[in-house]
Amino acid sequence: MRETPSIEFALHGKVGGVEITPRTIDLSRFNEFNQEVETFIGGSQKLKLDQVYVEIAQSSYVLRAILPVVVLSSLVPDLKLMARQDVLGELDIKRAEVVQKWQTRTKNNPDLIYEVRPKVEGLPKVRVSRETDYRAGDIVPWVAVEKYLFGEIMDMGGTQRANVHLKLDRGGKTLLVGASQGYLREQVDNRLYHKVLLHVRGERHFRTGDLRNIQLISFVDYQPAYNEEALDRFIAKGAAAWADVPDAAQWVREVRGG
C-alpha cells in the first residue's frame, strides 16, 4: 500500500541558549510556527485543512503534516520552484510571505533554521537559514492597476500617514486606502459613514488578484439618481450624433475591426 504523502516542517535552533524541542518551545513561537505552517500549506487558496493531520516528532520542533492528495498537488509546484532562492515573486503569495518571514528571522537569529521536508519522491528538501537568501528576484508579481471601489467610509485621516478605511459594498472587506492629508482637508462634504466611489491606483497580484499599496486618486462624483432633464439633454445631442448610423450593432462590429 502506498504511504500517505507527508511533509515535515522543522524548526531548529536555540533561543536563549536552549535548544528548541517540543518540550522547550515557548508558547508564542509554538503558535507562530504552527500558524505559518498552516498558512504555507493552505496558501492563498485557503485550502480546507480538516483532512490534514499533524504529528509532533521528537528532536527539534517538527510538525509532520499528513496531506490529502488535493492539498499536496497545490504545494508541489511551489516546492519545486523553491529549489531556487530568487523565487519569492513566483510563489503563491501566502507561501512567499511565510518564507520571507523565516528568512528574515534567520538573519536576526543565526541559530534558527527552518526546513520543509517533503516525504514525497522527486520533491526537494527546502532549508531556510542564515546561509540562504530567499528573495523576490527579477520577477515582480504585482502589476499597477487603477480601480473604482464602492463602499462606506468607516474612518478617515491620520496624524502621520493619512488613509481612508473603506468597507467594500461587495464582500464587506475593509480596505486601507492611502491618501494625502491635503486632499482630505480640502473635502467640503462629510464623507464619514457615507457610501462613496473611490478612484484608486494600486498593485494587483497577477495570480491571486490581491490588492496592495492602494492610494486614493480622488473621490468620484457618483450620485446615481434619475434626472429627466440630464437624460433629455443627452438624447438631444444623441439624435444628431448617431443620425448616420442606421445599424448600431453593425457599426460596433465595424469599429472592432469587422
Binding site: 494587483r204 462624483d221 439633454r233 438624447i235 448600431a248 457599426w251
Partner: protein
C-alpha cells in the same frame, strides 16, 4: 437587489438616439436601474467606442461606476473563445 448591470455600446447608442426602435425601452431601463438603486457599470472599452460619436456628459457619468480595463481583465479577455464571435459576425 441585483449586483448591477453592465451596459454595452449598442445599449448606450439606443438610449442616446430617440430614432432607434427600442429607444423607449432603453430609457425605461435607465430609469428603472436608477430608481431601484441597481448599480450601472460602464466599461472604459464601451466608453472608447461610444465617444467616437458622442461624449458622455458629467451628469450622466455620475450615475455610473466606471470599470477600467486592467491587467486581470486583459488576461480574462485573452481566455475568451474569440472564434465563436468571429463565426457569428461573418
Amino acid at each position: 437587489m441585483p449586483g448591477g448591470v453592465l451596459f454595452d455600446t449598442s445599449f448606450l447608442i439606443t438610449l442616446a438616439d430617440p430614432n432607434r426602435a427600442h429607444h423607449e425601452t432603453a430609457r425605461g431601463y435607465w430609469m428603472h436601474f436608477l430608481e431601484n438603486q441597481i448599480p450601472i457599470y460602464l466599461s472604459t472599452v464601451v466608453v472608447s467606442e461610444f465617444c467616437i460619436k458622442q461624449e458622455i456628459p458629467p451628469d450622466m457619468l455620475r450615475c455610473c461606476v466606471v470599470l477600467p480595463f486592467n491587467w486581470d481583465d486583459a488576461q480574462l479577455a485573452a481566455r475568451l473563445d474569440w472564434s465563436a464571435t468571429r463565426s457569428r459576425t461573418t
